[in-house]
């Protein structure tokens, strides 16, 4: 793959994020290599409603949690995940990108 090769990723939104952007998915063409963080940055600028998404959301690529500095490939499915709902008690409060960056 040469630098600058275009690649298209499918981006999926869930729960509150889907309400913010008014849709459950979109396609985004990026210049490869590109990270998940770059995908989020582009979306926040280009997609109506997406500016209210956090700059550093939890993310998954192809159904696996990833760090935001992970690279995407053409055809990948990138999911932006609102804070996970299971842990409203005091045991587990850390529901942001750092959870997977420090693991």
């Amino acid at each position: 793959m040469r630098d600058g090769t275009p690649g298209t990723v499918r981006v999926r939104f869930f729960a509150r994020y889907a309400e913010l952007v008014g849709r459950e998915e979109t396609a985004l063409t990026v210049s490869l290599p590109a990270t998940v963080e770059e995908v989020v940055r582009r979306l926040r600028v280009e997609l109506p409603g997406a500016h209210d998404l956090p700059e550093r959301p939890l993310a998954a690529v192809n159904s696996k949690h990833v760090k935001l500095d992970s690279y995407v490939k053409d055809g990948d499915e990138v999911a932006l995940l609102p804070p996970l709902a299971g842990g409203s008690g005091p045991v587990a409060r850390r529901y942001d990108a750092t959870l997977y960056e420090t693991a």
Binding site: F14, R16, S63, K64, L81, P83, A85, G86
Partner: protein, 145 residues
């Protein structure tokens, strides 16, 4: 194997799935929808999820349990859709040779679920409002249904 259901959690089925004649300790965990002192007129919770990833993440968690406690057998169901107060949204059954492994593996699964499984909760209130449950402690009003 599917770990998701839109029907009430069938506890007997979980026990059957986990049971094995050589396993003498079985631990069951149920997470139920509550309307306690910290809640405000909750009538139910609408659960939604990234279903493909929920299935994949549960499979990874169960594989980790097999690696840590090779003799244990685990069964898990998570409910999606509207779950009324008092009903279970998740059920976990773990059978192991002895109780210590059964409790440990069951605890491992529920803590992993809370941290990793992409399921979201929208609390429905008796005044007609709904909020997204956010572990940051800052509930967010839900948009139009």
């Amino acid at each position: 194997m599917t770990y998701l259901t839109r029907d009430p959690i069938a506890i007997e089925r979980l026990l059957t799935d986990a049971a094995c004649p050589g396993l003498g300790g079985t631990c069951v965990f149920l997470g139920t929808v509550r309307n306690g002192a910290d809640e405000h007129g909750v009538t139910g919770i609408e659960y939604s999820g990234y279903e493909e990833m929920v299935e994949a993440e549960f499979a990874r968690i169960i594989a980790e349990v097999r690696e840590r406690w090779p003799a244990a057998r685990a069964a898990v169901r998570h409910r999606l859709g509207l779950v009324p107060v008092g009903a279970a949204s998740i059920g976990i059954a773990v059978a192991a040779p002895h109780r210590a492994e059964a409790f440990a593996a069951c605890r491992y699964i529920i803590e992993a679920v809370k941290q990793r499984v992409p399921v979201w909760k929208k609390e429905l209130r008796d005044d007609g409002t709904a909020i997204w449950v956010d572990p940051s402690g800052h509930p967010v009003p839900a948009g139009p249904q």
